[in-house]
């Protein structure tokens, strides 16, 4: 029996096989969507670039060579050099690491936080809901970048603080989504059935409510990634995110803007990287929405 047959078996023999089959089917559905595949490829490229940066980049991202400042793109420096004579291509490649780190850390901090707060509020309802959502709305009512700016200003500039600030501004939206999703099924019969069995509220939220919010959460986080990258770049641009000489894309644009008219490549090359990665996340997010859309997946 081939691996494909094993995965597509209508009557799996173990829970593992059933779940593997479910993911395989989703993967197949995702592959049918060309844009999603393109998005996934871009993100794979980002990950590969970050992992293999030392091998891909021809030079060190911080090595200064003041005798070759602001050279235009050429076969030696594919994306030209910046005002300190550093190879921009190498800096963009290393910058992938920082971008990936920002994205991953924000997702790890903000998504679970928002998910749990939203699920608890939606599941219990009543005053718990009012309290948690009031708190969430305070955060939600402030513009993201300005809130992040305020946090960074309070915590001091730096990449870690920028990540924390972005995470703090990102979770309320996730809490809202998780709550909205939870409310639609909190009074459904499969939740009543586990209550009747005597399961605790923590167990119901953790094992029965959260998994159902998961797919819309994944879609939303993926779509938000573009915004997160842009916010991080914005903070970098304002000098409040990554500090020199870290090759953060936003910070690179910020330094290049002085030369934008005569040496356009200094600011444009990292800008391309930002746009490409943001688009990648958008495409993948859109594709995932089609595959994970609970209305489609839940019906037979």
């Amino acid at each position: 029996m081939s691996a494909r047959d094993w995965l597509l078996d209508e009557s799996p023999n173990s829970r593992m096989q059933a779940n593997a089959g479910r993911f395989y089917r989703m993967g197949l559905a995702l592959l049918r969507n060309p844009l999603a595949v393109l998005g996934a490829l871009i993100i794979l490229l980002l990950i590969a670039t970050a992992v293999f940066a030392p091998w891909i980049a021809p030079e060190s991202p911080v090595g200064q060579m003041l005798d070759r400042r602001l050279l235009p793109p050429s076969s030696a420096n594919w994306m030209g050099t910046d005002e300190l004579g550093r190879d921009i291509f190498s800096r963009v490649v290393y910058g992938a690491r920082i971008t990936l780190m920002i994205v991953a850390l924000v997702a790890i901090i903000a998504a679970p936080l928002g998910l749990i707060i939203g699920a608890v509020a939606g599941y219990f309802g009543g005053w718990v809901d009012k309290l948690l959502m009031g708190f969430t709305d305070i955060f939600l009512s402030m513009p993201k970048l300005i809130l992040a700016l305020a946090f960074v200003a309070a915590l001091g500039p730096g990449i870690e603080n920028a990540i924390i600030a972005i995470a703090i501004t990102a979770w309320p939206a996730y809490a809202r989504i998780a709550r909205a999703e939870t409310i639609t099924f909190r009074s459904s019969e499969f939740i009543s059935a586990v209550k009747l069995v005597g399961a605790s509220d923590a167990r119901i939220i953790g094992l029965h409510v959260v998994p159902l919010c998961m797919s819309s959460m994944i879609v939303r986080v993926t779509l938000d990634m573009a915004g997160i990258i842009l916010t991080a770049a914005g903070l970098g641009f304002l000098g409040l995110g990554a500090q020199p000489p870290l090759p953060e894309w936003g910070a690179m644009i910020s330094r290049g803007r002085v030369f934008i008219l005569d040496q356009w490549w200094v600011a444009t090359m990292p800008g391309f990287a930002i746009i490409l990665v943001s688009l990648g996340f958008c495409f993948l997010g859109d594709g995932l929405r089609d595959v994970l859309d609970p209305k489609q997946a839940g019906k037979s």
Binding site: V194, V197, G198, L212
Partner: protein, 252 residues
């Protein structure tokens, strides 16, 4: 001994009573039907017994022990409920296996794998269904899974809320036969809600007719063969269910 005893039970939602002053005695091993108009509070009575409608006054006792107002773990082992909608009562992202294991895990029971496959056998589902997701099952198969889940903790009392009304006649016949067999084999007590009098005639020993939140009549199910009802609403329901044809046949 009485399995379920309700004494002047009034159940409200948000302060508005939905069921007024219901008193019933259901014997151990009996199969009892609750029939009546849509919206008359049949499901509400079951939900109150199960602990899902906590706003009630009066007295509920199950197997002699008074019942609290919420779901509780000890009670879960004596009494379980099967819901009306086979499409809504299974978690869409859980396999049959995890649905059936859940009660065992919550109650810390061992030999889970063996018990799950035993339960599948009991409701006539093959082992090939064990790791399927609900969307890979038909309505009738889902309802069997829901019945199996209710049986996992080996309760003595089953609350059945319209277990077959969403199913077609051929599947309904299978589920009704199954419920009848399980009751005979395991000495279960059924409290079953239905709006279908012929199902009562097939499944139940006694019945209570509800209208507008009150029990208007209690009768043995043999009354369905003779049309022996005194309450006007019960007579009306009986006539509308095809009882009038039987009466006219007897008259000939």
């Amino acid at each position: 001994m009485t399995a379920i005893s309700l004494k002047s039970l009034t159940i409200s939602y948000g302060g508005i009573p939905a069921v007024h002053d219901v008193s019933l005695e259901i014997g151990d091993g009996e199969s009892f039907a609750l029939v009546g108009e849509s919206g008359s509070g049949k499901s509400t009575v079951l939900r109150a017994i199960a602990g899902l409608a906590p706003e009630w006054t009066g007295e509920i006792s199950v197997l002699g022990a008074p019942r609290g107002h919420g779901p509780d773990r000890a009670f879960a082992r004596t009494c379980q409920m099967v819901f009306q909608d086979p499409y809504g009562s299974l978690h869409p992202r859980k396999t049959v296996d995890s649905v059936l294991s859940e009660p065992l895990i919550v109650h810390g029971l061992s030999e889970r794998s063996g018990r799950v496959s035993e339960a599948l056998d009991m409701v006539g589902l093959g082992q090939e269904f064990r790791f399927r997701f609900p969307h890979q099952l038909s309505g009738g198969q889902r309802q069997r899974v829901a019945i199996a889940r209710a049986l996992m903790l080996k309760p003595r009392i089953m609350l059945l809320d319209e277990p077959t009304s969403a199913l077609d006649v051929s599947v309904q016949a299978e589920i009704l036969n199954l419920l009848k067999r399980l009751r005979r084999d395991q000495g279960l007590t059924y409290l079953m809600v239905t709006h279908n009098l012929p199902v009562v005639a097939f499944m139940c020993d006694r019945m209570a007719v509800m209208n507008a939140g009150r029990v208007v009549e209690t009768a043995p199910s043999s009354a369905l063969r003779t049309g022996d009802f005194s309450d006007p609403y019960a007579q009306h329901l009986y006539a509308a269910s095809g009882g009038d044809e039987i009466a006219s046949k007897d008259g000939q």
